[in-house]
Subunit: 555 residues, 2 copies
């Protein structure tokens, strides 16, 4: 009797959009051999993770089970799928497999950590496959907003699974392979145990549009622009960058790529052969000598990132280039929810310079890289899986995707990060709950999201910080008066004298009243002084600050 | 020869959406008599104003010229128009004029500051007018998403100005007066010197839709809901609250208002007679005894505010009510840019509880309160002003509105906060630049946005805070070792020993090396120690923190 089971475990990306990390396993319970699909990151924000550089999935479970992992597969080269390969390599040390373009990007990331290029093995598209423990895995081409995005065909003794990766159903994607329903039907013809499927656009009711629809619109816009044209999009959307560049070229403009990511992505796609016939580009150093009406800049920063080329141009200058009245700035992109403030700030700065801004609000200059609801239905109809497990979505996306699946008479399972699903039997079921979470890259250090470090920063940002120093002599008496340093707090409040003076007076009085019990006990002393500081600040300025008390005893 | 001039000066709201505050003046240059239109607030966010409670326009210029101000007029009761009346009353002390509903809300705000209700004079709609210095001002009804919104007809010896306030062209607004083009044409027939006009929706290409279109859609949705229904919208959108309540009533549901603002707004509109025939409501204490399928809650918090009823329900419980699988939650509202994260968080929390969320993404359950581009054109055609000066918009809105105006062959002037425009001559021109800005209400204290206080908080949030204390004895020698307290920083870094230990060792070494020149000079000592702390942190954890050095000298 075999008690082998086939499991699916999302560690990141199911219940959020970002930091994708999924695990499949096959074998005896808790001894399954494992493969990992994607190691992505997500981005911090001031609301919840101020000062943090990058957010990674918490891979504690993978580290604990490192000996059972046979391989990592990366579906495509977006940051939320490949961004953590470098940061996690030392902990996992498992061979990584990807198609050529993705492998190129992954190797760049690994090299920043001193990891050799051989850590990544380049795999050709289906029908080529890779054996990893009990699994045989192939990269099934599918269209998306980056070259060589692939679904994974994951075979095991427990049956065939399709992990969709990020995708859209585009028959004319311009760069990379088109959606090929015959190929997908062929792969699925002997039965698919489970389809693990992208949910990003499940709330979009109309069929997705092709990348090819953008070109004619952009071409017309650029042809009619009287002065310089600047366009931004995700650098990794190589097809779009090509579309933009070709529109510029047809309008007789010299093309200049600005921003490190923009140049790197185009180089990677040329090197790996996925991009051919890209217009000739000039370097930023030559751009200023070209008449402005003959110039088109393709720049990074479509999401309002403060340090990207877009933001720098909007603030004034980038590589010697400045914008002028009547220039055209095209956002050939969608603003990701949460990035609105940054994008709007740039739009207003451009407006102040007299630059005409065009964005995707009329739907002409951008199409999404994800499958809309009818496309998700189409995919299910082609694949005809026994069960659909939505991934790559917030809870509301996953839930809607399950409801849609069920409304089509199929089984849908809602599995969020940490829910290990057993797929072996006739009914998928929750096998186990695994602890998951987020790890912050903070400077050069990884810290836990719940370590309290970032919580302290948020508190200082909301409440300000008071530092009190007091000297206590050998007789446990205060030596002089305590003194206060304020950071992030109003200097004066209700009494219209400096807040530090009021605090120091109240603290001096407290110390005068305090008996030996308090004066000899650092904890009591700190607690008492902290209470005074918070009360006095509440009275004076209506805020209770964070307080640090430093007691120095002369002994 | 009279050198009197007519001026317009925006102090808030022109170059931003929020904290509206506009000034009109007439008289000899720099001696003009002044009136103020609107005293609004805007709301802080973690990105730019963490810990701040409210953002007010900087009214320094008004305070300096207080003796010249004859009156304040409030166009309508939205926070961005009336929110600052209480905070500024002591400084201005000028009579306030508003229509009944607006006056009711303004008096509530003033009473929180102990200001008597008589500070506000209730004015009836046009043709009633108020004399204020050289000005005669009337409240011209116009539809908007709050009762009794009004444009102002501002007459002076320099001519008639129309200040649009916030508006849409709605012939069936359900509550309050409809758009009445005949009345507006009549008021404008002898010539309008300038139209100062709302720009919010200038980028919306289609004519605005009527409030009356929402009702049938909501009614159908609520009638078909199997379990409890919860709906949220801006509490001040009294027409919408009524529409929602009526849909509930027709579906045989008891209506319960939840959230302080929701109850207050409905009370104010009933008290002032603007709202009639509102369905009977039950108190929150009675709601739990009603079968859920017969209940509809109308709640505050459509913008994701953490403390509002919506957020509390999403997190679990509000006034004893909880949500259950299959309940319906309707956002009959648009998410204001910048609030997406908060709204999405609530939607996901609702999804986790199995609640079905419906929002305005399909355009069925919400209409905007502002005039779209074709409506702005219609208004210009009715008013036929000599010049249009856009207001109530970010720079990009104002600029687009000017461009649209000019494309119709009219004069448009782009005036942002602080630009005083002289309207007297044939050509409007910039008369003066006035310093403007933002004042933060922080706890109970008003601080300047550029005082550095909030900047310090942001820095602590991004970089963490290190406090170093060092004792120096009478011989200018360190007494013991310096010690460090960290807040918001990783505890260990590269050397894998506590960061405080590394810092204290490096600082001790620095003090050992430091000569008399440094040890006797507090500034040099602090600077040197700060540099060490930042360098060591950079080496250890890859971050340069904020540093406070406390030097205590025993003397």
């Amino acid at each position: 009797m075999s008690s082998d089971r086939l499991i699916y475990l999302p560690l990141g990306g199911a219940g959020e959009i970002g930091m994708n990390c999924y695990v499949y396993g096959h074998g005896k319970p808790r001894q399954e051999r494992l493969i990992v699909v994607d190691l992505g990151v997500t981005f911090p924000d001031m609301d919840g993770s101020p000062g943090v550089d990058l957010i990674l999935p918490d891979i504690s479970w993978l580290k604990e089970n490192r000996a059972r992992i046979d391989a990592v597969f990366i579906t495509h080269a977006h940051e939320d799928h490949v961004g953590a390969v470098g940061h996690t390599y030392e902990d996992l040390g498992v061979p990584i497999y990807a198609r050529a373009f993705t492998a190129n990007i992954a190797r760049q990331k690994l090299s920043e950590f001193g990891v050799d290029a051989k850590a990544v093995t380049t795999v050709s598209k289906w029908p080529e496959t890779v054996r990893a423990g009990p699994f045989t895995v192939g990269f099934l081409p599918i269209s998306h907003s980056i070259p060589e995005s692939s679904a994974l065909v994951i075979d095991s003794p427990g049956g065939r699974i399709i992990h969709s990766g990020d995708f859209k159903l585009d028959k004319t994607p311009l760069v990379g392979e088109p959606w090929d329903p015959e190929l997908w039907a062929e792969v699925s013809k002997d039965g698919i145990k489970a389809l693990i499927c992208d949910s990003t656009n499940v709330f979009s009711p109309n069929p997705g549009r092709s990348e090819a629809e953008v070109g004619p619109m952009v071409e017309e816009l650029v042809a009619n622009a009287p002065h310089m044209v600047v366009a931004t999009t995700f650098a990794s959307n190589v097809a779009r960058v090509k579309t933009l560049a070709e529109a510029g070229e047809r309008a007789g403009r010299s093309i200049c790529l600005m921003g490190r990511a923009m140049r790197r992505m185009i180089e990677a796609s040329i090197e790996t052969g996925v991009l051919k016939g890209f217009p000739k580009v000039i370097g930023p150093e030559d751009a200023s000598s070209i008449p402005r009406e003959n110039l088109m800049l393709l720049v990074t920063g479509s999401q309002g990132e403060r340090r990207a080329a877009s933001a720098q141009l909007a603030r004034g200058k980038y590589h010697g280039m400045t914008l002028k009245e009547g220039d055209l700035f095209l956002f050939s992109s969608k603003t990701i929810p949460g990035n609105e403030r940054g994008v709007i700030r740039i739009m207003n700065q451009l407006s102040e310079q007299g630059v005409d801004v065009v964005d995707d609000s009329n739907g002409l200059y951008h199409v999404s890289g994800h499958a809309n609801r009818p496309d998700l239905e189409t995919l299910q109809d082609v694949v005809r899986p026994q069960v659909v497990i939505p991934m790559h979505g917030e809870h509301r996306h996953l839930r809607e995707h399950v409801k849609m699946t069920q409304s089509k008479g199929r089984k849908g399972v809602l599995a969020v990060n940490g829910m290990m699903i057993e797929l072996s039997g006739n009914e998928p079921k929750v096998a186990e709950y695994v602890e998951t979470g987020r790890t912050y890259l903070d400077g050069t250090v990884q810290i836990g999201a719940l370590d309290g470090i970032v919580r302290d920063r948020i508190r200082m940002a909301l409440n300000g910080h008071v530092v009190v120093t007091v000297l206590i002599d050998e007789e446990d008496e205060p030596l002089g008066e305590p003194w206060c340093e304020l950071m992030g707090l109003a200097e004066t409040g209700r009494s219209r004298v400096p807040l530090t003076d009021v605090l120091e007076e109240d603290l001096t009085q407290f110390l005068g009243r305090a008996g030996d019990k308090i004066m000899t006990d650092d904890d009591k002393l700190e607690e008492g002084m902290r209470r005074i500081v918070r009360q006095t600040c509440q009275n004076e300025i209506g805020k209770k600050p964070e307080v640090t008390i430093v007691v120095s005893r002369l002994m």
